[in-house]
């Protein structure tokens, strides 16, 4: 039973000292839900944890810039922080500043893969990085074009169309495409592993962690799955009804949830239905 919560082989413990940070202040009303959050991403992988309907997806969409919230102040601090560096303000509603989504570098992989159906896999993953502006850029692009398909095991699929892919392959292309975006500052994942079997999930997590080691790009993912949060061993921001309840290491923040899940599993074991 204990191995359910044992972090899988790839562990998210490495701290990248120069990784960029993201500071988020957000207030927005969606129907009856009032979102009011204020948090900072400082770890390589942070999870927004909460039940469905607690506003997690809305927070991701606001960070990406897919809509303009009632109030927002979001600043991305670059990787090598010098004492004078101030960061890039993505949106500051109080001063009327709002960068459009395509200039923010907050790359979101939404829950639904939505691969462009009229493009091949290669065209899909290259969509976010169509051309290089300089020769140094070109080197980076060439390297990415070579490594990303390998990393996500897409080499043999590059010339297929999305309609010809299996579910797992589609998901791999979906994530690969997001990681290849040339402007990426933070990778946002909206329940990326929902509906996938355990093996595929482990595979994708490994891929993403390897990619992160290489790219040093922070990841913010959304989940309501306790097991997944423990597997990632990441920093957790617990959300309930649009508010941040707690932020910290997963073992601390989700201790209660783990207890409850263990009890349920034990009970199920004792009284099999």
């Amino acid at each position: 039973m204990a191995n359910l919560f044992r972090p899988s082989p790839p562990q998210v413990v490495a701290i990248y000292p120069h990784m960029s940070r993201l500071s988020v202040q957000l207030r927005h009303n969606v129907g009856k839900l009032q979102i009011d959050v204020d948090f900072e991403l400082t770890q390589p992988w942070t999870i927004l944890f909460g039940p469905s309907g607690s506003g997690k997806t809305t927070i991701l969409r606001a960070i990406t810039g897919l809509f303009e919230p009632d109030f927002a102040h979001i600043v991305s601090y670059p990787r090598l922080v010098s004492p004078t560096s101030t960061g890039i303000t993505l949106i500051d509603t109080s001063s009327g500043l709002c960068l459009p989504a395509h200039k923010r570098g907050m790359v979101i992989a939404s829950q639904k893969p939505s691969l462009f159906p009229h493009m091949t896999v290669l065209q899909n993953i290259r969509f976010g990085y169509p051309r290089a502006a300089s020769s140094a850029e070109q080197d980076r692009l060439d390297k990415l074009t070579e490594t990303v398909p390998k990393l996500f095991r897409l080499d043999h699929l590059l010339h297929r169309r999305p309609a010809e892919l299996s579910g797992g392959e589609t998901q791999r292309v979906h994530l690969a495409r997001a990681t290849m975006a040339g402007s990426i500052r933070v990778l946002l994942l909206d329940e990326p592993f929902t509906g996938l079997d355990r093996a595929l999930r482990d595979e994708l997590i490994t891929d993403l962690l390897l990619w992160q080691e290489e790219s040093q790009i922070p990841i913010l993912s959304v989940t309501h799955d306790v097991t997944e949060a423990f597997q990632l061993g990441a920093e957790v921001i617990k959300i309930a009804e649009g508010r941040v309840v707690q932020q910290g290491p997963v073992a601390e923040v989700l201790a209660g949830e783990r207890e409850r899940l263990m009890d349920q599993l034990n009970a199920a074991k004792k009284n099999p239905a």
Partner: protein, 215 residues
């Protein structure tokens, strides 16, 4: 004459209708509803009403008409370019409506994904929306083209039936009937029917073929 008018109208309308249709399809609100209503107006108004207003607007009787005459150097009414302007306005709904429904049918998730990946709105439109809505682009062009070939009332009001300048097939047909020259009228009518039929068959054939290919 008819062909020149139809080709010119279709070319101009595609340029005008694409951004207009995208703007209408990519949001909602009172402004968009008003624009959409104005675009659809030529559908419900008798063509003669439109022709009359255009005649006034483009001729020397009104201030904008006089200004236009100064810019262009001659009155637009009763000239080919005037006819072109009229046709563009008259066929606008036939170009815009298919595009609006085509664009609206493109899942907004694709548009959001493209923006999230760093694509500018223009690039998103060009490489995601347009290819996904290419069927409606074809429909729009064909409808505009055939509709321009067949228009009558507006052309008569605005063009004034000048041989070699503003006399289109549909008007020449009308003339021939007025002259009781049924034989010639029959020929002209046959040309129009055959042309429209061939165009439509080609379009439907092609789109059916594509459906088969995509399975």
């Amino acid at each position: 004459m008819t062909l020149r008018l139809a080709v010119g109208t279709t070319a101009i309308l595609l340029v005008v209708a694409l951004p207009l249709a995208w703007w209408i399809a990519s949001g909602h609100g009172a402004g968009r509803a008003l624009v959409q209503a104005i675009v659809a107006l030529p559908l419900v108004l008798p063509p003669t009403v439109l022709g009359f207003y255009l005649l006034v607007a483009l001729g020397p009787l009104s201030a904008p008409g006089r200004l236009l005459i100064q810019i262009v150097g001659h009155p637009l009414a009763f000239s080919f370019s005037g006819l072109l302007v009229g046709s563009v306005i008259y066929s606008l709904p036939f170009a815009v409506q298919p595009l609006v429904s085509g664009f609206s049918a493109v899942d907004s998730a694709y548009v959001e994904t493209a923006a999230g990946l760093g694509a500018s709105p223009w690039r998103t439109f060009r490489s995601v929306v347009l290819p996904l809505a290419r069927g409606s682009l074809l429909t729009s062009a064909v409808l505009t083209f055939t509709h321009t070939v067949g228009e009558f009332g507006m052309v008569l009001m605005l063009g004034g039936n000048i041989p070699g300048a503003t006399k289109t097939l549909s008007i020449s047909l009308y003339d021939k009937v007025q002259e009781f020259n049924y034989g010639a009228a029959n020929q002209t009518a046959l040309v129009l029917v055959a042309f429209s039929l061939v165009t439509l068959v080609v379009v439907y054939w092609r789109s059916a073929g594509r459906r088969l290919v995509l399975g």
